[in-house]
Symmetry: C4
Subunit: 278 residues, 4 copies
C-alpha cells in the first residue's frame, strides 16, 4: 500500500505501542521502587499475555488488510502466462505482520506456560524486528534518492529495536533498555507518518524534489528531532505516572489515616500506617 494510509496505519500501531510501553515501564519501575507486594508482579504477567494477544490480533488484521484490499493479491502468489508475481509488495508486508504475529504467540506461550525459558518472548520480538528490517532493506533499492534515504533512516530505528530486544533476551528488567525500546517505537511510528507526509502529501501541496541534496540534509536532521521528541514524550509520561502514583498513595494514605483515626480506639492502627509507608 504505497500511499499515505499505508504509512499512517503501521505508524499509528507503533505510536500506540510506544506510548503504552512508556506508561507500562514507568508503572513497573515506580511501583517496584515504592512497594514490593507480589500482587503487582502478577498483574504485569497478565498484562504481557494480553499484550501478546493484542499483537496477534493486530498482525491478523494487518495480513488480512494487505491481502484483501481492492488492489491486493487476494492470496494469489503468481498468475498469468508467462507466470508473473502478484503484488509482491503486499506479500512482503504480510510476511512482516506474520512475524509480529509469531512474536505475539511467543509472548502468550512464554508467560502462560511455566517451563518456557525466560527471554524467549524478547528473542522472538528481536527476530520479528530483524525480519522487518531485512525485508525493508531489499525493499527500498531501485527507488529515487530521497525515497531511499527516508526509508533507510527507518532501518536505523528497526535494527536498533532488534538489537535492543536481543540484548534484553539476556539482560531482563533493565529500565534503560525498556525505555529505549519504547522511544524507538515512538520514533518508528512518527517517522512512518513523516514518510507519508513527505512522499504522499495527503492535502496535495508541492511535491518534494527527490534529488535535492538540501532535502536529504533536512530529512536527516528531522530524524534526530523526531527522536528528541520521543525522548520528551517518554520523560513527560514518566513524570505523569510518577505524579499519579504519588497522589494515589497520598489519597490512599489519607483514607487509611481516616480509618486509622476511627480504629485508634483499638490499638492496631499504628501498625497499619507503618505497613503503608514501605
Amino acid at each position: 500500500m504505497a500511499n499515505f494510509k499505508g504509512h499512517a496505519l503501521p505508524g499509528s500501531f507503533f505510536i500506540l505501542f510506544g506510548l503504552w510501553w512508556s506508561v507500562r515501564c514507568s508503572l513497573k519501575y515506580i511501583s517496584r521502587s515504592l512497594n514490593k507486594n507480589s500482587r503487582v508482579q502478577w498483574n504485569f504477567k497478565h498484562l504481557e499475555i494480553i499484550e501478546g494477544a493484542v499483537k496477534v490480533g493486530f498482525a491478523t488484521v494487518g495480513i488480512l488488510a494487505e491481502q484483501f484490499v481492492p488492489d491486493g493479491p487476494h492470496l494469489y502468489l503468481y498468475s498469468g502466462q508467462p507466470r508473473s508475481w502478484v503484488k509482491l509488495m503486499n506479500w512482503q508486508h504480510s510476511t512482516m505482520y506474520l512475524f509480529f504475529g509469531i512474536s505475539g504467540a511467543a509472548d502468550i506461550i512464554t508467560y502462560s506456560l511455566t517451563k518456557m525459558p525466560i527471554g524467549l518472548d524478547r528473542f522472538m520480538f528481536a527476530i520479528s524486528f530483524f525480519v522487518e528490517g531485512f525485508l525493508f532493506y531489499f525493499h527500498i533499492s531501485h527507488r529515487p534518492m530521497l525515497d531511499q534515504h527516508i526509508h533507510s533512516l527507518l532501518l536505523m530505528a528497526i535494527f536498533g529495536s532488534a538489537a535492543t530486544c536481543l540484548i534484553q533476551t539476556f539482560m531482563r528488567d533493565n529500565m534503560i533498555l525498556d525505555f529505549f525500546i519504547a522511544s524507538l517505537a515512538l520514533l518508528q511510528g512518527t517517522w512512518f507518518w513523516q514518510i507519508g507526509f513527505v512522499l504522499y502529501p495527503p492535502w496535495g501541496g508541492p511535491e518534494w524534489d527527490e534529488s535535492d541534496h538540501g532535502n536529504i540534509m533536512f530529512i536527516t536532521m528531522c530524524f534526530c528531532w523526531h527522536y528528541a521528541i520521543a525522548i520528551l514524550i517518554i520523560a513527560v509520561n514518566y513524570s505523569l505516572v510518577y505524579c499519579c502514583i504519588q497522589s494515589c498513595r497520598r489519597s490512599n494514605r489519607q483514607i487509611r489515616f481516616g480509618l486509622g483515626i476511627k480504629k485508634q480506639n483499638n490499638s492496631h492502627a499504628p501498625l497499619l500506617n507503618g505497613l503503608d509507608d514501605e
Copy 2:
C-alpha cells in the same frame, strides 16, 4: 559440484543436524526440568562424542566426494603448462568440509579429555561456520544477480550460526541459543534445497530470469518463510518430545505404582514413589 545434487547433499546434512539438535535440546531441557539424576548428564556427554565422530565421518565423506567425483580434481591442485588451477570450486568445498572435520575432532577431544577448557567445541564450531561463510563470500562474486542474491541470503544463516556458536563459547546451556542454532541449521538446509530448485531445476521446467527484480523480491521473502517453517518444525518437535517424555513418565509411574502395590507388603514402597516424583 554446481548442480542440483551438489546443493541437495549439504542441504540434507544440515536438515538432519537441525532436526537432531532440536530433538536433543528438547530432550535435554525437558528432562532437566523434570528430573535431575546424574545418569542423564552422562548420556549427553556420550552423545556429544558420538556427534563429533559423526561430524568427522560426514566431513571425510564430503572431502572424498568433492575430490574423486568424475569431474573432480583428484587431489591435483594445479596442472598444465602454463600452470592453471584445477577445479578450485571443489577444493574450496573440501576446505569447508575440512574445518567441519576439525570441529568434530574438537568435540571428541573436549568431551573425552577432562582437562580441556569448556567451550572449545563451540569455539571450533564457530570457526568452521566462519570459514564456510568466508569462502562463500568470495565464492559468489562474478555471478548473475539472482545467483549472487540467493547465495548471499545463505550467508546470513551461516554468519548467524557462527556468531551464535561464538556466544555459546562463553554462555553455555542457554536454551534459546541452542534452539536458535537448530533453527538456523534447518534454515540453511532447506535453503540449500531451494537454491538447487531455483538455479538447477531438477525436472526441467522454465528457467528463472536471473535479472528480474520481482524474482529477487520473492526470493528475499521466501527466505523469511523458510525461517518461519524452521520455527514451526522446532515448536512441533519440542511438543512431541514433551508429550513422549510425559507419557513415558506416566507409564513408568504406573509400572512403579504396580510394583509399589506388590511391594506394599514390605514398607519400602512409599519411599520409591516419593523419589519418582522429583
Copy 3:
C-alpha cells in the same frame, strides 16, 4: 561555520573536557585506592551535577552562536518563493548541540534525583555522540576527497566514544573505559584543530592538494600520532595527580604528625596517626 573558528571552537570544548576527565578520573581512582571515606564519594556526585550544568551551558551557547552569527539562519528554517532551506549546516550543528544539552540535563537529573536508574547519564551521552556521528556521516558526502577523508577519521573518534559510553551504561566504574573516553575526547578536540589547519589555514600559506594520495596517507598516519599524543597527555596527567595527592598526604601527615607531637601529652595521638594511614 565552515571556517577555522568553526572548527577551533568545538575542538577547544572537547580538549577542555578531555583534560578535565583525565584529571577527574585520576583523582577518583587514586583517591579511591588510597582512602575510602564517604566524603570523597559525595564530592564526585556533586561534580557530576556541575559537569551536567556546564554541558547544558556550553550547548546553549553553541546553539545561540550557530543561530545568530551574522551569516546564521536566525531561527528561519526555510524562506523564499519557491521555498528553500536556510543554512542547513548551522541547523545541523544546532541539533548536535541540542543533544549534548539533553545529555547534560540527563546528568543533572540522574545525580540529583535518587530513584533514577544508574547509567541513564551514560546512555544519553552515548545517544548524543551517536547523533553527532550520524549527522556528520551524511554531512560529509559530496565533498572533495581529502575533506571527506579528514572528516571521516573524526567519525572513528565519535563512534568510538558512543560505543564506549554505551558499554559504560552497563559496566560502570571501569577505569580503562573512563580513561579511554578521555583520550577520545582529546583526540576529537585536537583533530578538530587539525581539520581547521588543513582545510582553512589561518595564516594563509599554500593550500593542500585535496586529491593527492600522499596527503591522504599522511593525514591517516597523523591521526594515529594525535592519538599517541592523547595517550601521552593522559599518562602525564595521571602521574601529576598521583604526585600531587602523595605530596598532599605527606604534608598532611607531617601536619598531623606535628599536631601529634603537641598532643602527645594527651594519649590520643597514635590513634590519629593510625587512621591517617588507611
Copy 4:
C-alpha cells in the same frame, strides 16, 4: 619496504610471538590445573614484564630499521620545493611499530606497578593491533586486485586480534581467547611470508597474474589452510608441553621417591610425597 625482506621480517616477529604465546599459555594452564603454588604465578608476572621489554626492543629495532635503511626517510617527513612527503610507507610502518612499543611499555607498567588497573596491557595491545589494521586499511587502496585482496585477508587476522584483545581486557584468563590470539599471531606471521612469496618471489620464477580470478580464489582458500596449520601447531605445542610437564613431574616424583626411601629412616618422607601430589 615493499620487498620480500620487508614482509619476512614482521612475519618472523609474529611467528615467534605466536609460538611463544602458545607455549606460555600451555605452560600456564597445564601447570595451573596440576598444581597451584604461588611461586608459578609469580614467574608469569615476571615473564609478562620481560615480554613487554622484548616488545619495546623489537619496536625500537623496527622503527630504526624503517627510518635508516638506505632508501628510508632518515627522519625527514617532507622535503623539496614544492614540498612533497618523503617515503610515507616507511613512516606508516614506523607508526605501527611505535604503537606496539607503547603496548610493550603498558605491559611493563601494568605488571610492575601495583595500583594499575587490570587489563590495561590487553587494552593497549588491542589499540596497537587496531592502529596496525587501520593504517593497513588505507595503505592498500589504489593497488592491483590480487595485491589488495592478499593484504585485505591480513586485515581479518589483525582486526580479529584487536577484537580478541579487547574482549580479554574484560575477560581475563580465558584459555580459549589466549590460544586464539596465539593462533592469529601465527596466521599473521605465516601470511606475511605468503605475501612475500606471492608478490615478490625471492628466487625469481614466474610472476602471478594479478587480475586472474582463479588466483584470488586460491589465495582465499590458502588463507584458510594457513589457519588450519596454525591450529595444528598450537595443538602440537600443547601436547608437547603437556608431555614435558608430565615427564618432569614423574622424574621429579621418582627423585623424591628415591629421597623418600633414603629418608624413610626419619619419618618426614610420607608428608613430602603427599605434598607432591597436589
